[in-house]
Protein backbone atom coordinates (compact mmCIF):
# COMPACT_ATOMS: atom_id res chain seq x y z
CA UNK A 1 0.00 0.00 0.00
CA UNK A 2 1.35 3.49 -0.91
CA UNK A 3 0.47 4.68 2.54
CA UNK A 4 2.75 2.07 4.21
CA UNK A 5 5.67 2.75 1.88
CA UNK A 6 5.59 6.50 2.40
CA UNK A 7 5.24 5.98 6.14
CA UNK A 8 8.38 3.81 6.09
CA UNK A 9 10.25 6.38 3.97
CA UNK A 10 9.34 9.16 6.38
CA UNK A 11 11.05 7.36 9.28
CA UNK A 12 14.51 7.60 7.66
CA UNK A 13 17.58 9.17 9.23
CA UNK A 14 19.14 11.23 6.39
CA UNK A 15 20.04 14.89 6.90
CA UNK A 16 16.93 15.86 4.93
CA UNK A 17 14.81 13.76 7.30
CA UNK A 18 16.36 15.59 10.24
CA UNK A 19 15.52 19.08 8.97
CA UNK A 20 12.73 20.86 10.83
CA UNK A 21 9.34 20.19 9.14
CA UNK A 22 8.60 23.93 9.12
CA UNK A 23 11.76 24.60 7.08
CA UNK A 24 10.85 21.80 4.65
CA UNK A 25 7.28 23.03 4.33
CA UNK A 26 8.51 26.59 3.64
CA UNK A 27 10.94 25.21 1.02
CA UNK A 28 8.09 23.27 -0.62
CA UNK A 29 5.97 26.43 -0.76
CA UNK A 30 8.82 28.39 -2.37
CA UNK A 31 9.36 25.60 -4.89
CA UNK A 32 5.65 25.50 -5.79
CA UNK A 33 5.42 29.28 -6.21
CA UNK A 34 8.56 29.39 -8.36
CA UNK A 35 7.43 26.39 -10.41
CA UNK A 36 3.95 27.76 -11.04
CA UNK A 37 5.34 31.12 -12.22
CA UNK A 38 7.93 29.61 -14.59
CA UNK A 39 7.24 30.38 -18.27
CA UNK A 40 6.08 27.37 -20.34
CA UNK A 41 8.90 27.97 -22.82
CA UNK A 42 11.59 27.67 -20.11
CA UNK A 43 12.03 23.93 -20.62
CA UNK A 44 15.60 23.97 -19.27
CA UNK A 45 14.25 25.35 -16.01
CA UNK A 46 11.86 22.38 -15.67
CA UNK A 47 14.77 20.01 -16.29
CA UNK A 48 16.80 21.85 -13.63
CA UNK A 49 13.89 21.58 -11.13
CA UNK A 50 13.72 17.84 -11.81
CA UNK A 51 17.48 17.52 -11.22
CA UNK A 52 17.10 19.49 -7.96
CA UNK A 53 14.38 17.11 -6.78
CA UNK A 54 16.40 14.06 -7.83
CA UNK A 55 19.40 15.31 -5.83
CA UNK A 56 17.16 15.88 -2.80
CA UNK A 57 15.59 12.40 -3.16
CA UNK A 58 19.02 10.84 -3.52
CA UNK A 59 20.36 12.62 -0.44
CA UNK A 60 17.31 11.39 1.48
CA UNK A 61 18.05 7.86 0.21
CA UNK A 62 14.58 7.57 -1.32
CA UNK A 63 14.12 5.53 -4.54
CA UNK A 64 13.82 8.10 -7.33
CA UNK A 65 11.85 5.78 -9.61
CA UNK A 66 9.44 4.88 -6.80
CA UNK A 67 8.95 8.55 -6.04
CA UNK A 68 8.45 9.43 -9.72
CA UNK A 69 6.00 6.55 -10.20
CA UNK A 70 3.85 7.79 -7.36
CA UNK A 71 4.10 11.41 -8.50
CA UNK A 72 2.89 10.27 -11.95
CA UNK A 73 -0.47 9.40 -10.36
CA UNK A 74 -1.40 13.09 -10.70
CA UNK A 75 -0.91 12.97 -14.47
CA UNK A 76 -4.32 11.49 -15.42
CA UNK A 77 -5.96 14.48 -13.72
CA UNK A 78 -3.75 17.16 -15.29
CA UNK A 79 -3.71 15.31 -18.65
CA UNK A 80 -7.35 16.29 -19.25
CA UNK A 81 -6.49 19.99 -19.07
CA UNK A 82 -3.21 19.48 -20.93
CA UNK A 83 -5.08 17.78 -23.80
CA UNK A 84 -7.63 20.58 -24.00
CA UNK A 85 -4.77 23.10 -24.15
CA UNK A 86 -3.03 20.97 -26.82
CA UNK A 87 -6.17 20.91 -28.96
CA UNK A 88 -6.49 24.68 -28.65
CA UNK A 89 -3.08 24.91 -30.35
CA UNK A 90 -0.76 25.74 -27.44
CA UNK A 91 1.36 22.61 -27.25
CA UNK A 92 4.13 24.24 -25.17
CA UNK A 93 1.66 25.31 -22.48
CA UNK A 94 0.12 21.80 -22.47
CA UNK A 95 3.52 20.22 -21.93
CA UNK A 96 4.36 22.71 -19.17
CA UNK A 97 1.05 21.94 -17.45
CA UNK A 98 1.88 18.23 -17.30
CA UNK A 99 5.46 18.96 -16.19
CA UNK A 100 4.35 21.36 -13.47
CA UNK A 101 1.79 18.97 -12.02
CA UNK A 102 4.28 16.08 -12.06
CA UNK A 103 7.06 18.14 -10.42
CA UNK A 104 4.60 19.52 -7.84
CA UNK A 105 3.53 15.97 -6.96
CA UNK A 106 7.15 14.89 -6.73
CA UNK A 107 8.04 17.80 -4.41
CA UNK A 108 5.04 17.16 -2.15
CA UNK A 109 5.94 13.47 -2.00
CA UNK A 110 9.49 14.39 -1.10
CA UNK A 111 8.15 16.34 1.87
CA UNK A 112 5.86 13.55 3.14
CA UNK A 113 8.53 10.94 2.34
CA UNK A 114 11.08 12.68 4.57
CA UNK A 115 8.75 13.93 7.32
CA UNK A 116 6.44 11.83 9.52
CA UNK A 117 2.79 12.85 9.45
CA UNK A 118 3.06 14.31 12.95
CA UNK A 119 5.90 16.56 11.81
CA UNK A 120 4.29 18.17 8.81
CA UNK A 121 0.86 18.51 10.42
CA UNK A 122 2.56 20.22 13.40
CA UNK A 123 4.29 22.53 10.89
CA UNK A 124 0.92 23.34 9.30
CA UNK A 125 -0.47 24.01 12.76
CA UNK A 126 2.39 26.41 13.56
CA UNK A 127 1.42 28.28 10.38
CA UNK A 128 -2.10 28.74 11.74
CA UNK A 129 -3.71 26.41 9.18
CA UNK A 130 -7.30 25.76 10.42
CA UNK A 131 -7.18 23.06 13.08
CA UNK A 132 -10.23 21.33 11.63
CA UNK A 133 -8.39 20.78 8.33
CA UNK A 134 -5.40 19.32 10.18
CA UNK A 135 -7.67 17.02 12.18
CA UNK A 136 -9.29 15.79 8.99
CA UNK A 137 -5.86 15.06 7.45
CA UNK A 138 -4.74 13.19 10.57
CA UNK A 139 -7.90 11.10 10.82
CA UNK A 140 -7.97 10.25 7.12
CA UNK A 141 -4.35 9.13 7.29
CA UNK A 142 -4.92 7.14 10.48
CA UNK A 143 -8.10 5.36 9.41
CA UNK A 144 -7.35 4.82 5.74
CA UNK A 145 -5.70 1.56 6.78
CA UNK A 146 -8.52 0.36 8.94
CA UNK A 147 -11.16 1.12 6.31
CA UNK A 148 -9.05 -0.35 3.50
CA UNK A 149 -8.57 -3.56 5.49
CA UNK A 150 -12.26 -3.69 6.25
CA UNK A 151 -13.06 -3.25 2.54
CA UNK A 152 -10.63 -6.02 1.65
CA UNK A 153 -12.17 -8.44 4.17
CA UNK A 154 -15.69 -7.64 2.97
CA UNK A 155 -14.62 -8.17 -0.64
CA UNK A 156 -13.09 -11.57 0.17
CA UNK A 157 -16.17 -12.59 2.14
CA UNK A 158 -18.38 -11.58 -0.79
CA UNK A 159 -16.18 -13.34 -3.36
CA UNK A 160 -16.28 -16.53 -1.27
CA UNK A 161 -20.02 -16.57 -1.91
CA UNK A 162 -19.97 -15.71 -5.60
CA UNK A 163 -18.16 -13.81 -8.31
CA UNK A 164 -17.67 -10.06 -8.37
CA UNK A 165 -20.09 -7.74 -10.13
CA UNK A 166 -21.00 -4.08 -10.29
CA UNK A 167 -23.96 -4.80 -8.04
CA UNK A 168 -21.65 -6.42 -5.48
CA UNK A 169 -19.22 -3.48 -5.59
CA UNK A 170 -22.08 -1.01 -5.10
CA UNK A 171 -23.34 -3.01 -2.12
CA UNK A 172 -19.87 -3.14 -0.57
CA UNK A 173 -19.42 0.62 -0.92
CA UNK A 174 -22.78 1.20 0.79
CA UNK A 175 -21.98 -1.12 3.70
CA UNK A 176 -18.47 0.31 3.98
CA UNK A 177 -19.92 3.80 4.24
CA UNK A 178 -22.27 2.71 7.04
CA UNK A 179 -19.45 0.93 8.89
CA UNK A 180 -17.16 3.96 8.53
CA UNK A 181 -19.87 6.08 10.07
CA UNK A 182 -20.21 3.62 12.96
CA UNK A 183 -16.44 3.62 13.44
CA UNK A 184 -16.35 7.41 13.48
CA UNK A 185 -18.99 7.31 16.21
CA UNK A 186 -16.92 4.79 18.19
CA UNK A 187 -13.76 6.90 17.86
CA UNK A 188 -15.61 9.98 19.04
CA UNK A 189 -16.88 8.07 22.10
CA UNK A 190 -13.33 6.91 22.86
CA UNK A 191 -12.07 10.51 22.57
CA UNK A 192 -14.78 11.83 24.89
CA UNK A 193 -14.01 9.06 27.38
CA UNK A 194 -10.47 10.40 27.60
CA UNK A 195 -11.49 13.95 28.32
CA UNK A 196 -11.68 15.38 24.77
CA UNK A 197 -13.37 18.79 24.84
CA UNK A 198 -13.42 19.66 21.15
CA UNK A 199 -9.79 20.65 20.66
CA UNK A 200 -6.49 18.82 20.55
CA UNK A 201 -3.93 20.09 23.02
CA UNK A 202 -0.67 20.51 21.05
CA UNK A 203 2.80 19.80 22.37
CA UNK A 204 5.16 22.82 22.33
CA UNK A 205 7.18 23.04 19.04
CA UNK A 206 11.00 22.91 19.20
CA UNK A 207 12.88 26.09 18.18
CA UNK A 208 14.24 26.31 14.61
CA UNK A 209 17.99 25.57 14.36
CA UNK A 210 20.61 27.39 12.30
CA UNK A 211 20.99 24.31 10.06
CA UNK A 212 17.27 24.50 9.23
CA UNK A 213 17.56 28.19 8.31
CA UNK A 214 20.58 27.32 6.14
CA UNK A 215 18.65 24.53 4.43
CA UNK A 216 15.76 26.86 3.65
CA UNK A 217 18.11 29.57 2.35
CA UNK A 218 19.80 27.05 0.04
CA UNK A 219 16.44 25.88 -1.33
CA UNK A 220 15.30 29.46 -1.82
CA UNK A 221 18.52 30.41 -3.62
CA UNK A 222 18.42 27.28 -5.82
CA UNK A 223 14.79 27.70 -6.89
CA UNK A 224 14.93 31.45 -7.47
CA UNK A 225 18.30 31.09 -9.24
CA UNK A 226 16.90 28.56 -11.71
CA UNK A 227 13.80 30.70 -12.24
CA UNK A 228 15.85 33.80 -13.07
CA UNK A 229 18.74 32.28 -14.99
CA UNK A 230 17.02 29.68 -17.21
Amino acid sequence: MHHLVIDRWSRGTSSLHQRDPRAKLAALLVFLVVLSTTRPAAQWAFAAYAVLLAIAANSARLPILGLAGRAALVLPFSATFALLTWWSGDSMRALALAEKSFLSGMAALLLVGTTPLTGWTAALESWRVPRMLILVIQFVYRYLFVIAEQAQRMRWAALCRGRGSFRLAAGLVGVLFARSWQRADGIYHAMLARGFRGRFVPAAPAPLRASDALFFSACLAGCVGIRILL
Binding site: P116, Q138, A193, F196, V201
Partner: protein, 230 residues
Protein backbone atom coordinates in the same frame (compact mmCIF):
# COMPACT_ATOMS: atom_id res chain seq x y z
CA UNK B 1 -16.30 0.48 52.30
CA UNK B 2 -16.92 3.47 49.98
CA UNK B 3 -18.87 3.03 46.77
CA UNK B 4 -17.01 3.50 43.47
CA UNK B 5 -20.24 3.21 41.45
CA UNK B 6 -23.83 3.54 42.65
CA UNK B 7 -26.66 3.34 40.11
CA UNK B 8 -30.39 3.31 40.70
CA UNK B 9 -33.26 2.83 38.29
CA UNK B 10 -31.26 3.34 35.09
CA UNK B 11 -33.39 3.25 31.93
CA UNK B 12 -32.41 4.00 28.36
CA UNK B 13 -34.25 3.86 25.07
CA UNK B 14 -32.44 4.21 21.72
CA UNK B 15 -33.93 6.67 19.20
CA UNK B 16 -35.29 3.70 17.16
CA UNK B 17 -37.45 2.73 20.15
CA UNK B 18 -35.34 -0.19 21.45
CA UNK B 19 -35.53 -0.27 25.24
CA UNK B 20 -31.88 -1.17 25.98
CA UNK B 21 -31.89 -0.66 29.77
CA UNK B 22 -34.96 -1.22 31.84
CA UNK B 23 -34.40 -0.24 35.47
CA UNK B 24 -30.83 -1.20 36.40
CA UNK B 25 -29.67 -1.06 40.03
CA UNK B 26 -25.94 -1.63 40.35
CA UNK B 27 -23.09 -0.94 42.74
CA UNK B 28 -19.34 -1.42 42.83
CA UNK B 29 -17.20 -0.94 45.93
CA UNK B 30 -13.80 0.77 45.79
CA UNK B 31 -11.14 -1.74 44.76
CA UNK B 32 -13.74 -4.41 43.88
CA UNK B 33 -13.92 -6.16 40.49
CA UNK B 34 -17.14 -7.33 38.88
CA UNK B 35 -18.01 -9.11 35.62
CA UNK B 36 -20.98 -8.20 33.44
CA UNK B 37 -22.33 -11.30 31.69
CA UNK B 38 -25.21 -11.47 29.25
CA UNK B 39 -26.20 -12.42 25.73
CA UNK B 40 -25.42 -10.15 22.77
CA UNK B 41 -27.85 -7.23 22.84
CA UNK B 42 -28.71 -7.68 26.51
CA UNK B 43 -27.62 -4.09 27.32
CA UNK B 44 -24.08 -4.53 28.73
CA UNK B 45 -22.32 -2.12 26.37
CA UNK B 46 -25.16 0.41 26.60
CA UNK B 47 -24.78 0.22 30.36
CA UNK B 48 -21.02 0.79 30.15
CA UNK B 49 -21.51 3.85 27.92
CA UNK B 50 -23.63 5.36 30.72
CA UNK B 51 -20.85 5.07 33.30
CA UNK B 52 -18.94 8.09 31.97
CA UNK B 53 -21.89 9.94 30.48
CA UNK B 54 -21.39 8.97 26.82
CA UNK B 55 -25.07 8.01 26.86
CA UNK B 56 -27.54 9.66 29.23
CA UNK B 57 -30.62 7.80 30.35
CA UNK B 58 -33.12 8.16 33.18
CA UNK B 59 -32.15 7.26 36.74
CA UNK B 60 -29.32 8.23 39.06
CA UNK B 61 -25.60 7.50 38.60
CA UNK B 62 -22.90 8.30 41.13
CA UNK B 63 -19.22 7.74 40.37
CA UNK B 64 -16.84 7.97 43.35
CA UNK B 65 -19.51 9.94 45.20
CA UNK B 66 -20.08 12.41 42.34
CA UNK B 67 -23.55 12.51 40.79
CA UNK B 68 -23.29 12.28 37.00
CA UNK B 69 -24.33 15.64 35.54
CA UNK B 70 -23.03 18.14 32.98
CA UNK B 71 -21.10 19.98 35.69
CA UNK B 72 -19.29 16.83 36.92
CA UNK B 73 -18.73 15.12 33.57
CA UNK B 74 -15.06 16.11 33.18
CA UNK B 75 -14.23 15.03 36.73
CA UNK B 76 -16.06 11.74 36.29
CA UNK B 77 -14.27 10.98 33.01
CA UNK B 78 -10.96 11.37 34.82
CA UNK B 79 -12.07 8.89 37.49
CA UNK B 80 -13.42 6.17 35.23
CA UNK B 81 -11.34 4.81 32.36
CA UNK B 82 -13.02 2.80 29.61
CA UNK B 83 -11.01 0.36 27.48
CA UNK B 84 -13.15 -0.29 24.42
CA UNK B 85 -13.46 -3.67 22.71
CA UNK B 86 -11.96 -2.48 19.41
CA UNK B 87 -8.54 -0.96 20.06
CA UNK B 88 -8.53 0.66 16.60
CA UNK B 89 -11.27 2.97 17.83
CA UNK B 90 -9.27 3.92 20.88
CA UNK B 91 -5.89 4.56 19.24
CA UNK B 92 -6.45 7.57 17.02
CA UNK B 93 -3.26 9.61 17.38
CA UNK B 94 -0.35 9.27 14.92
CA UNK B 95 2.13 7.76 17.41
CA UNK B 96 1.85 5.56 20.50
CA UNK B 97 3.37 8.22 22.79
CA UNK B 98 1.03 10.95 21.55
CA UNK B 99 -1.95 8.64 21.93
CA UNK B 100 -1.17 7.83 25.54
CA UNK B 101 -0.47 11.52 26.28
CA UNK B 102 -3.85 12.53 24.77
CA UNK B 103 -5.82 11.96 28.03
CA UNK B 104 -3.33 13.67 30.40
CA UNK B 105 -3.17 16.71 28.06
CA UNK B 106 -6.96 16.92 28.20
CA UNK B 107 -6.73 16.78 32.00
CA UNK B 108 -4.71 19.99 31.85
CA UNK B 109 -1.19 18.62 32.39
CA UNK B 110 1.66 20.51 30.71
CA UNK B 111 3.02 18.83 27.53
CA UNK B 112 6.22 17.82 29.40
CA UNK B 113 4.32 16.28 32.33
CA UNK B 114 1.85 14.54 29.99
CA UNK B 115 4.67 13.00 27.96
CA UNK B 116 6.52 11.93 31.13
CA UNK B 117 3.39 10.28 32.45
CA UNK B 118 2.76 8.60 29.10
CA UNK B 119 6.31 7.18 29.05
CA UNK B 120 5.94 5.88 32.62
CA UNK B 121 2.65 4.13 31.86
CA UNK B 122 3.93 2.66 28.59
CA UNK B 123 6.87 1.19 30.51
CA UNK B 124 4.44 -0.27 33.04
CA UNK B 125 2.43 -2.07 30.34
CA UNK B 126 5.61 -3.27 28.60
CA UNK B 127 5.34 -0.98 25.56
CA UNK B 128 8.24 1.41 26.22
CA UNK B 129 9.94 0.18 23.03
CA UNK B 130 7.08 1.44 20.83
CA UNK B 131 6.90 5.14 21.78
CA UNK B 132 7.36 6.49 18.25
CA UNK B 133 5.56 3.72 16.38
CA UNK B 134 2.28 4.30 14.58
CA UNK B 135 -0.61 2.45 16.29
CA UNK B 136 -1.62 0.75 13.02
CA UNK B 137 1.75 -1.03 12.88
CA UNK B 138 1.14 -2.79 16.21
CA UNK B 139 -0.16 -6.31 16.75
CA UNK B 140 -3.59 -6.84 18.36
CA UNK B 141 -2.00 -7.57 21.76
CA UNK B 142 0.24 -4.49 21.56
CA UNK B 143 -2.71 -2.31 20.55
CA UNK B 144 -4.64 -3.54 23.57
CA UNK B 145 -1.71 -2.74 25.88
CA UNK B 146 -1.40 0.76 24.44
CA UNK B 147 -5.17 1.27 24.77
CA UNK B 148 -4.92 0.28 28.45
CA UNK B 149 -1.91 2.60 28.87
CA UNK B 150 -3.95 5.46 27.38
CA UNK B 151 -6.57 4.93 30.06
CA UNK B 152 -4.11 4.34 32.93
CA UNK B 153 -2.31 7.60 32.02
CA UNK B 154 -5.41 9.43 33.27
CA UNK B 155 -4.91 7.78 36.68
CA UNK B 156 -8.51 6.53 37.02
CA UNK B 157 -10.02 4.97 40.14
CA UNK B 158 -12.21 2.60 38.11
CA UNK B 159 -11.35 0.62 34.98
CA UNK B 160 -14.04 -0.58 32.59
CA UNK B 161 -12.84 -3.30 30.23
CA UNK B 162 -15.13 -4.23 27.33
CA UNK B 163 -14.19 -7.72 26.08
CA UNK B 164 -10.49 -7.15 26.84
CA UNK B 165 -9.19 -10.42 25.38
CA UNK B 166 -11.10 -10.49 22.07
CA UNK B 167 -8.83 -11.29 19.07
CA UNK B 168 -5.86 -12.15 21.31
CA UNK B 169 -3.86 -15.38 21.02
CA UNK B 170 -3.42 -17.48 24.22
CA UNK B 171 0.09 -16.23 25.20
CA UNK B 172 -0.91 -12.59 24.64
CA UNK B 173 -4.11 -13.19 26.55
CA UNK B 174 -2.13 -14.69 29.44
CA UNK B 175 0.24 -11.68 29.53
CA UNK B 176 -2.69 -9.28 29.48
CA UNK B 177 -4.39 -11.09 32.36
CA UNK B 178 -1.20 -10.83 34.42
CA UNK B 179 -1.06 -7.11 33.66
CA UNK B 180 -4.74 -6.54 34.53
CA UNK B 181 -4.52 -8.57 37.76
CA UNK B 182 -1.68 -6.34 38.91
CA UNK B 183 -3.68 -3.11 38.52
CA UNK B 184 -5.11 -1.80 41.80
CA UNK B 185 -8.18 -0.05 40.32
CA UNK B 186 -11.77 -1.26 40.79
CA UNK B 187 -12.79 -3.07 37.61
CA UNK B 188 -15.93 -3.64 35.59
CA UNK B 189 -15.23 -6.40 33.05
CA UNK B 190 -17.66 -7.02 30.20
CA UNK B 191 -17.11 -10.47 28.77
CA UNK B 192 -18.64 -13.75 27.58
CA UNK B 193 -15.60 -15.64 28.80
CA UNK B 194 -16.21 -17.38 32.14
CA UNK B 195 -12.52 -18.21 32.57
CA UNK B 196 -11.54 -14.56 32.15
CA UNK B 197 -14.24 -13.58 34.65
CA UNK B 198 -12.94 -16.12 37.17
CA UNK B 199 -9.36 -14.88 36.69
CA UNK B 200 -10.15 -11.21 37.18
CA UNK B 201 -13.24 -10.91 39.35
CA UNK B 202 -15.12 -12.52 42.21
CA UNK B 203 -18.61 -11.12 41.65
CA UNK B 204 -20.76 -11.27 38.50
CA UNK B 205 -23.92 -9.58 37.29
CA UNK B 206 -26.06 -11.19 34.57
CA UNK B 207 -27.87 -8.91 32.08
CA UNK B 208 -30.98 -10.07 30.26
CA UNK B 209 -33.11 -7.83 28.02
CA UNK B 210 -31.94 -4.63 29.72
CA UNK B 211 -32.45 -5.91 33.26
CA UNK B 212 -30.23 -7.54 35.84
CA UNK B 213 -31.46 -11.14 35.97
CA UNK B 214 -28.99 -12.37 38.57
CA UNK B 215 -26.07 -11.30 40.72
CA UNK B 216 -23.56 -13.17 42.88
CA UNK B 217 -20.35 -15.16 42.94
CA UNK B 218 -18.86 -15.68 39.44
CA UNK B 219 -18.96 -19.49 39.63
CA UNK B 220 -22.53 -19.47 40.92
CA UNK B 221 -23.73 -17.14 38.14
CA UNK B 222 -21.92 -19.17 35.46
CA UNK B 223 -23.64 -22.34 36.67
CA UNK B 224 -27.04 -20.73 37.18
CA UNK B 225 -27.17 -19.29 33.66
CA UNK B 226 -25.23 -22.15 31.96
CA UNK B 227 -22.63 -19.60 30.85
CA UNK B 228 -19.91 -22.00 29.64
CA UNK B 229 -18.95 -22.89 26.08
CA UNK B 230 -19.26 -26.62 26.80
Amino acid sequence: MSRAIQIQGLRYQYPDGTQALNGIDFHLDAGESVTLFGANGSGKTTFVLHLNGLLRGEGSIEICGLPLADATLEQIRSKIGVVFQDSDEQLFMPTVLEDVAFGPLNLGLSPEDALTRARTVLKRVGMAHALDRAPYHLSAGEKKRVAIAGVLAMDPEILVLDEPTTFLDPPTRRDLLTLLRGLPQAKVVVTHDANLARALTTRAVFFDHGRIAGEGDVIEIVQRFHWEYS
